[in-house]
Symmetry: C2
Subunit: 592 residues, 2 copies
């Protein structure tokens, strides 16, 4: 007899991964509970069979005791109890979980996404009262409780092992921009079962711990030697030390691998750095490991944008892989362009490891790195006089204002762009198609007139009608050629800007600490010498922030110049092609 189970949380299958999409409240039949790795095989009521994370289901019992969403109990073992009558089951449901088939706002990612997508007001700037901690920023925010308290299919001691489970690899959301833009927040609401957000908030980012920036402001020992990060005074102010040749890399050639006797599959990408020109292979989880290391090490000083995960779109596997690769390329390019990040041991390891052993040794070393969190500032050496704390504060405020304003501006473009995308792929081409059909229909009526000398007109009208049908198709396909890149760039910047509140927060906390200096000395919490050290060190932090902002600005100017040029170039081509097509159609009508 088959075992029934109740689905506790929505789970969306990865295409091509033999998974099964299930909905909260759904009853499924366990077909194989010995898959291992946290998965069971199940069949839904439509007869579809696939893998489901075992934490997502609860075996049906005669007297079921639900663990509602929000508890972190271990997954119940899948037993053999007889499935209870569903109506009996339902009677229990409302007390502990949302009733079957009823999408509560809290669990429905769409309702959250829509709010975020259309309103554009949801953001992670603490000073904005309407802002909720969503998306990537929430992921990087250690105070975010939303990231905790939900069971995950795979998490635990195995996380640093190569045997990480694959749902970390191939997570995706489906659909166009309307969803993907705000998919990050949806993921949190969905239970945060997927994505890197969880692991960070639970385990990482010690720099943002409750001890705050004092760890650095008051530490005795500073880093010496080769790990130093110099800051020079450039034309635009403090700047990082830039290499002579900018590192670059190509992410390409995604290949499917499988494990667990073919039941689970994953994608491996080939990454070729411009320095060695020798390709290395990495799975998504390796990118994710790199992201964590970078966030851990540099996050207090340098915004490390999240990896593309929930954002990735595409209903079909091929499209999904292509899109993820495109975004991994974007992420890698941005990291390569950063002089501090690209020059770091861990980043170099990722790009140039020689073999499995080399990789594993490097990994272990990177994970043991103690110069992480706020301690990164201990490696920074500005070649400039100390700044006055008031000036430090002014700079910090200015950057805060700017990044916040830019965040609004970027989100406005994303909102408008989403709407434009929808119109260009929806009603607009339909309308051009109808115009085209109407011309062609009238033409074929004219053809039936039986009147002589009709054909020049009817041929021309048919051609005009077909031209409008072609225009319909052009309109529908155009966003992929231009708006796509404008959206991608702004989406990337949205992610990057989402990191600034945390980075700036570290600085603000340090400034506050320095302001308390006199009081701390008076109450003998610190010595007068320590007060002087704090002021000096907050100045170093400020130089780091300024260097980073200047890096950000120069990249921003480059990126927006590039994307606007591309956008307008493609728009010009688009309108010129339409004009040419219409001119051709026009020429077929005779002047009488």
């Amino acid at each position: 007899m088959a075992n029934k189970a109740q689905v506790l949380y929505d789970f969306t299958a990865e295409p091509g991964n033999n998974e099964l999409t299930v909905k909260e409240g759904e009853t499924i039949t366990i077909t194989n509970q010995h898959i291992g790795g946290g998965w069971i095989e199940a069949q839904n009521s439509r007869g579809e069979v696939g893998l489901v994370p075992e934490d997502y289901i609860e075996l049906s019992k005669a007297f079921p005791s639900f663990s509602g969403p929000g508890t972190t109990t271990a997954a119940p073992s899948v037993g053999n109890a007889a499935p209870p009558d569903l109506s009996f089951f339902d009677a229990f449901a409302p007390t502990s979980a949302p009733p079957q088939n009823q999408a509560s706002n809290g669990n429905d990612p769409w309702s959250v996404w829509n709010t975020d997508a259309t309103g554009g007001s949801s953001n992670n700037w603490a000073s904005k009262p309407e802002g909720t901690q969503t998306g990537k920023s929430a992921a990087a925010d250690p105070w975010s409780s939303a990231a905790q308290g939900h069971p995950q299919a795979y998490q635990g001691p195995g996380a640093e092992d190569d045997e990480w489970d694959d749902e970390w690899d191939d997570v995706k959301s489906s659909g166009g921009y309307a969803e993907s833009e705000s998919g990050e927040s949806g993921a949190m609401q969905r239970g945060g079962a997927h994505g890197s957000s969880m692991k960070i908030s639970l385990n990482k980012f010690p720099g943002f711990s409750k001890s705050g920036p004092e760890l650095y402001l008051l530490c005795k020992q500073l880093v010496k030697g080769k790990d130093k990060l110099p800051i020079y005074m450039g034309e635009v102010g403090p700047v990082w030390s830039y290499p002579e040749t900018q590192l670059d890399c190509v992410v390409a050639d995604p290949k499917k691998g499988s494990k667990m006797y073919g039941l689970k599959s994953y994608i491996e990408y080939q990454i070729t750095p411009s320095t060695t020109n020798r390709p290395v292979n990495h799975r998504y989880k390796h990118f994710d490991w790199l992201y964590e290391r970078l966030l851990d090490k540099f996050g207090s000083a340098i915004p490390i944008p999240s990896l593309p995960d929930k954002q990735v779109t595409g209903r079909f596997e091929e499209e999904f892989i292509k899109m993820r690769m495109e975004r991994l390329q974007g992420w890698m390019t941005r990291m390569c362009r950063h002089p501090v990040v690209s020059n770091s041991d861990v980043f170099q390891l990722f790009l140039t490891y020689k073999d499995e052993k080399d990789w594993k040794t490097g990994k272990r070393k990177a994970e043991k790195d103690e110069t992480v969190g706020v301690m990164i500032f201990s490696t920074i050496e500005p070649e400039a006089p100390d700044l006055d704390p008031i000036e430090v504060e002014q700079k910090c405020e200015q950057f805060s204002r700017f990044t916040r304003a830019m965040d609004d501006g970027v989100k406005e473009i994303l909102t408008v762009g989403q709407e434009h995308w929808k119109r260009c792929t929806g009603p607009l081409p339909k309308e051009y198609q109808r115009i085209g059909k109407a011309f062609q229909n009238l033409s074929s009526v004219f053809n039936s007139s039986g009147y002589q000398g009709e054909s020049t007109l009817t041929d021309a009208m048919t051609a005009a009608g077909k031209t409008y049908e072609e225009i319909a198709q052009m309109v529908a396909e155009q966003p992929k050629k231009d708006l796509h890149f404008l959206m991608e760039t702004n989406n990337e910047y949205k992610g990057l800007l989402g990191c600034f509140p945390d980075t700036i927060g570290v600085h603000k906390a340090a400034i506050e600490k320095v302001k308390e200096g006199d009081k701390l000395v008076a109450t003998s919490k610190i010595s007068p010498q320590e007060k002087v050290t704090m002021a000096k060190r907050v100045s170093i932090m400020s130089y780091a922030l300024q260097a980073e902002m200047n890096h950000f600005h120069s990249n921003r100017i480059y990126d927006y110049n590039r994307v606007m040029q591309l956008y307008l170039e493609e728009q010009v081509k688009f309108y010129e092609t339409i004009a040419a097509k219409l001119r051709q159609a026009h020429s077929q009508f005779t002047t009488m």
Copy 2:
């Protein structure tokens, strides 16, 4: 004490005519009941004063007895009874008239128009079961009872006099295509108080009387001499006799006149025919008189399109006058182009009368013309052998099918065009404007960065943003430059095609009569000689129909060639201008 009155039917004021818009159920105060000409002066609750047709109101009484919509009682005289309490009044309302402020479908022109406009299935082809008798066709259909049974502000013995009242002149509907397209049917539903439709169905078109085409088929005396209308065999088949030079005229220079001591005003147009190049003046009512004469005389053989009346759009007087003039020009051009119509005495009188006396004499003569209705066929002389009745029937069926199919095709273009018009003037420019604003907003954020070398990018982004705002405006204004003419032409053809069912109906009735020939001879209803005559005459009718169809086809080919050329030419310009503007915007970004 002021006299109160209750408004019985909606009345929309003509702009510039000192009229007052009132709604059914509204209570107004009579300020002058001695205006004369069927008008009273009244004030509404907002203090606005203007003229209202006295038939449209009922003086409030202590115990009001409503005459509901559908009665044709004479207008009650405006008395002095005290106005009743409104709540008391309302208690009576639902039993005899729709309650105040509640738009019933029957009285709400919008609900009817919308159905017609969006569904596009409402038509006047008897063979289509879903068709309802609406609009122009209903107007020309003597069997249409919808045209009767509603009080009209001005109608009766004065109608052939110069003292016709002016609401016949300046009727309009407001709004864009969505309304105007289907306004005709709305007018009927509204009560048919305005427009020429009424007069025709009540008084005119004897050719469509119950006696039918027999009047001609069996008449003894045929017309002789100069009034003959020859039909030649041309390359395309039977054709009318075309003049060497085509008549043309220019309708221009609308001037406002007034009467009734300035209380009522009207517009006079200057019409200059190409033959004499001497302008004559006519008011709308003269056009209407001409239309009736032409319909009366030629309607059985030649589709005479209705004058523009309800169709005219424009919320402001100037716009309204311009639009009406444009459409009167279109109507006159079409009449001038018709060899039979343009050569007729009555049309020549209209274009070339020398003075008031000449005009009045000509009018009287035209009104006494007895060669009207089906008798027009008695003037037709084809120079070709008689047609077999079977061939006559086939031709007739063919024309019926064609005009019906074209009617569908034209309505499809109008429906699609309306939607396109709405999109181009509504959501689409708004979206381009928002894109433009988003670019400009981001540009001004960038400007606040404090980073050096920002201005090239921000200037370029501002320019790009402004370009999209310009595009927004171009998009919104484009329909007036191209779609307008496409719509006008199709609208004209819709009107013209709406006349065919009646014209073709006369032919079908004649064919049926001829088919009955043997039976009629057998029952001694007609003599064998009369049967032969009938067959000969139905052949003459067929030549007339063929000549007319050939005229229609040649005009149609000319008109559609011309309008499609114009449309595509303007579309090419539009897209080329956008491309050029974007190219200019593109050039401002620097290649890094």
